[in-house]
Symmetry: C2
Subunit: 311 residues, 2 copies
């Protein structure tokens, strides 16, 4: 199917990470299968986080073993350290692993220390080691948190982000996700950053990973698109997102809601490759898995009338 943008569906990992109620393995597998069926080419499937610290992902290997795999689809697992990569390798080597892993870094020292328990220098050492252990098995995604502002250190200089991207590139990581972790970015800043990074690193792929903390999720995704970005991280219902668990309405904000971004892009004639006929039903099934109404707007209001007119 022709598509203009590539969405990475993050519900099964990022979306569930902060949920204290465990979602059973069969439900996770069924949801990931439905994401595959809807046409996603990138799906964040699980995390090799320490099961004692994040019990939600104790079933990482079982999820990866149980789910169907679409041709050419990347199924990502988050890896926080070398131990996680070793677990991914064991699954991979028996034919049931992820084919993409993410490597986490923070643009600010404050967030690196609080979130990764490491200075930035220490974390770059870890990432080097993780890449060595991965030994070419996976597509590697550099995931850079607080790329616009940090909850501890405040606004982050775009020069720092550019340096961190160069560091990832030096390590052979060609896909880099730019995280607006606390939803601080604005369309102008995003446009500037994506344009300057694309100029400095024409061979790298940059991914927009934005949070809707202040309602700017869609506006920021559109700004990134206008600046040439074609890769977007989203989660059905806007689930997941900021680790500080900011409560908003009856959910947590939050990733950009997949259904709302698909609706915006498709209504503008920007092809996502996602099956619109199954979009809302899948959003509802994600809500059912978590057990509450989430934040996707078109799940309540329906898709754009322009989509009906265009179809």
């Amino acid at each position: 199917m022709e598509r203009d943008v590539i969405l990475n569906e993050c519900f099964a990992r990022d979306g569930l990470q902060n949920e204290s109620d465990l979602v059973d393995t069969a439900s996770k597998v069924a949801l990931i299968d439905s994401f595959t069926d809807l046409g996603f080419q990138r799906i964040e499937a699980t995390s090799y986080a320490n099961p004692e610290r994040v019990p939600q992902f104790a079933d990482a290997s079982a999820v990866l073993a149980g789910m169907r795999r679409g041709q050419g689809v990347l199924y990502k697992a988050s890896c926080g350290n070398v131990r996680a990569v070793e677990r991914a390798n064991a699954d991979f080597d028996r034919g049931a692993g992820p084919n993409e892993i993410s490597l986490l870094a923070s643009a600010s020292e404050g967030h690196s220390k609080k979130n990764l328990n490491a200075t930035k220098a220490e974390q770059w050492e870890r990432i080097s080691e993780m890449i060595a252990v991965a030994a070419g098995r996976y597509n590697l995604v550099g995931s850079l948190s607080v790329a616009f502002a940090c909850p501890f250190d405040g606004p982050v200089s775009p020069d720092i982000v550019a340096q961190d991207c160069a560091r990832f590139a030096d390590l052979g990581v060609s896909t880099i996700s730019l995280g607006d972790t606390i939803g601080a970015a604005t369309p102008d800043r995003i446009c500037d950053m994506f344009e300057s990074l694309a100029t400095a690193h024409p061979k790298l792929t940059f991914v927009a990973h934005f949070h809707d903390t202040r309602g700017l999720g869609l506006a920021n995704c559109l700004a990134a698109y206008q600046a040439g970005c074609r890769y977007f991280d989203t989660a059905f219902g806007g689930a997941g997102g900021h680790p500080a668990r900011i409560k908003y309405g009856n959910g947590y904000t939050g990733n950009v809601a997949t259904e709302d971004l698909v609706n915006m892009f498709e209504a503008m004639g920007i092809r996502t490759g996602i099956d619109l006929g199954g979009l809302i039903d899948t959003a509802r099934r994600c809500e059912a898995a978590i057990g509450r109404e989430l934040l996707g707007k078109v799940t309540r209001t329906g898709l754009s009338p322009f989509l009906g007119a265009l179809q």
Copy 2:
């Protein structure tokens, strides 16, 4: 105070219109006074709707008599018919009326019949009569509903909207609010429409009146701004909006939330003239007046960290 955009705070009318619980007059007056103090230059104060049909606005004259008036501030009252304009005139002529009134039209025949109980031709006759009765007392705002799509007739041709704007201009109405009543518009359509209307009618002032039904409120306002629009209708908490009362989360969607639009603009360096120090507190007082949490995001999460850095 220097400002780049003019926001019209619609909470006291559009925001309350669909609320079945009546807000007492003193609370309305206190809120409108706080809007004046925050620096709004346009405030939608009340409606001269038939009190038997819309009891919320039975106190229209008392609200207008009770509130303070800022220098140069436009206080709008909605007028649905000639009787409403006559009531506005009586208040005006005793020195306690609005200084701006809105004249409602629909871009589609279907919405005109359902919402105004008149064909478009009949409504234009009414508007002519209302303007004659107003006799130059007020700044007149043509308020065009379903300017992008209609819940009954589907997508609306921009040519129809252009004709309706020309009709308003012929009647001497120089300010026209373009309503995305069902939240169907997308940034590309908004950009096209505002640019082409500004070219066709360089002396008219166009106002963006967008609903956040599908999460596109901020993105659409930004698109309008980029197309040259400087006037925006918003309501604290995203209150009010679509008359079909689409339920969304724990509120109704909804006008663009004032606090979120102010946050976006100011974080981008676009000056709104609104006092940021009192913004969130006012949003909370609007929530208290309605008696529930509304949909403004920065009311929960705080203003952009870039605003702290810039101040």
